[in-house]
Amino acid sequence: METRRQKHLVLILAREFASNLATPTLIADDQGKLVFYNEAAESVVGRPFAEVGEMPLDEWTASFEPRTPHSGPLSPELRPTRIALDQRRAAHEDLRITSADGVERDVAVTAFPLFAHADEFVGIVAIFWRE
């Protein structure tokens, strides 16, 4: 049976939820692909989602050079989004990033996994809290 590809219902609902939030929020699927971030997040990352489109979350995240609040190195596996994807648990971290507009920003990131069923991981949500 061939049917058109469609995002999981949980991601569809998460996107609608995020698009109505004033809190910067992004969504990635179970493969670690960035599938959406909301308008509020545009002010943090410096570009609208329509310009960025879907892409690997790691690649997108790396472009902001995430580092510790004192500008020390932060290994990729310690990023909250990576922890939520790999370990499928919630994670929180204070970070310093350089946005696409060149501005250095201090943010806190909370990421958590989305499960449609106990054994069905469908993606993650990450929320950015501006300092």
């Binding site: 049976m1 049917t3 058109r4 590809r5 469609q6 995002k7 219902l9 569809i12 609902l13 996107r15 609608e16 698009s19 449609a116 069923h117 106990a118 069905e120």
Partner: protein
């Protein structure tokens, strides 16, 4: 494939002179194939008459596919004659839940104070199945089920043979997850199920102004049903899950509105589901 409507009313049965044309029984649709395969979609009160008919036709193997367990989709099961016939094998498919099995949840409707006979005491051989996450086959029919926007675990079904395809999404509020028109169908609830089907039975419970007062109740306006049909490229739209307060006269106004909205779509005009209606697919 032959699709027969046995009940198309939403929420609660509505017998009476004002609903004679389109009927007052709640959701039940039969899908039958020339090879004798019988699929029953939902067990609203329409299943009662279907049950007698199936026994008259000598059917002994029946698959019942439930979209969800709201009462208007389950209340007829207790009065489904094949359930009370020991010669019948009944396979019941439905959405999984984290807490209780499908059988345990259905058994609640067969227990005091709701009903005098326990589900384990019915004569038919009943087997319960959670719908798989991938498509599966029953005889020569291919089915897929996916969760759709509606309160509580609810699926829609896509049913295909080699020559035709049909989707059944009787309780669905895709607009709750964002505007349908202009959005990639990747992000539209139910789109995979209904993509390009020959016929689509879809929730169209409300006029647009009624929907504005009932956002989040899990049902669609006629405009959203038409927009969904257009977005997924479905052929014939059958308007379903009629609002209990809508008389035959009001339903025909709703059908007129659907046809007005669908004008320019090409293909079939939307039609109201009606008890006894048969949709023949190649």
């Amino acid at each position: 494939m032959r699709v027969t409507i046995w009940g198309c009313r939403g929420s609660v049965p509505t017998p009476g002179p004002e609903t004679i044309t389109y009927g007052g029984n709640t959701s039940c649709v039969e899908v039958s194939l020339d090879d004798g395969t019988i699929l029953v979609l939902d067990a609203g009160t329409g299943i009662r008459a279907l049950g007698f008919d199936l026994l008259d036709r000598g059917m002994r193997k029946i698959h019942l596919c439930l979209t969800h367990l709201h009462l208007d989709h389950l209340e007829g099961l207790r009065f489904f004659a094949p359930l009370w016939d020991e010669r019948v094998e009944l396979d019941i498919w439905g959405p999984p839940s984290q807490e209780l099995s499908l059988g345990e949840r259905i058994a609640r409707a067969f227990s005091p104070p709701l009903f005098p006979v326990d589900l384990r005491d019915v004569p038919a051989v009943v087997t319960f199945h959670d719908v798989p996450r991938v498509s599966w086959t029953i005889d020569r029919v291919s089915l897929s089920a996916q969760f759709v926007v509606h309160p509580g675990p609810t699926v829609g079904y896509r049913i295909e043979t080699k020559s035709s395809s049909f989707a059944y999404i009787p309780d669905h509020e895709p607009a709750l997850a964002g505007a349908i028109a202009g959005r990639s169908t990747d992000w539209v609830s139910g789109a995979s199920l209904a993509s390009g089907v020959d016929a689509l039975i879809h929730d169209a419970q409300y006029f647009e102004d009624e929907y504005e007062e009932r956002i989040g109740w899990g049902h669609s306006s006629v405009a959203d049903a038409v927009a969904f049909t257009r977005a997924v490229g479905a052929g014939r739209l059958v308007l379903f899950h009629h609002e209990p307060r809508h008389s035959d006269v009001l339903l025909e106004q709703l059908e007129d509105r659907a046809r007005e909205l669908a004008r320019g779509n090409g293909g079939h005009s939307p039609t109201l589901a009606r008890e006894g209606m048969v949709v023949e697919l190649p």
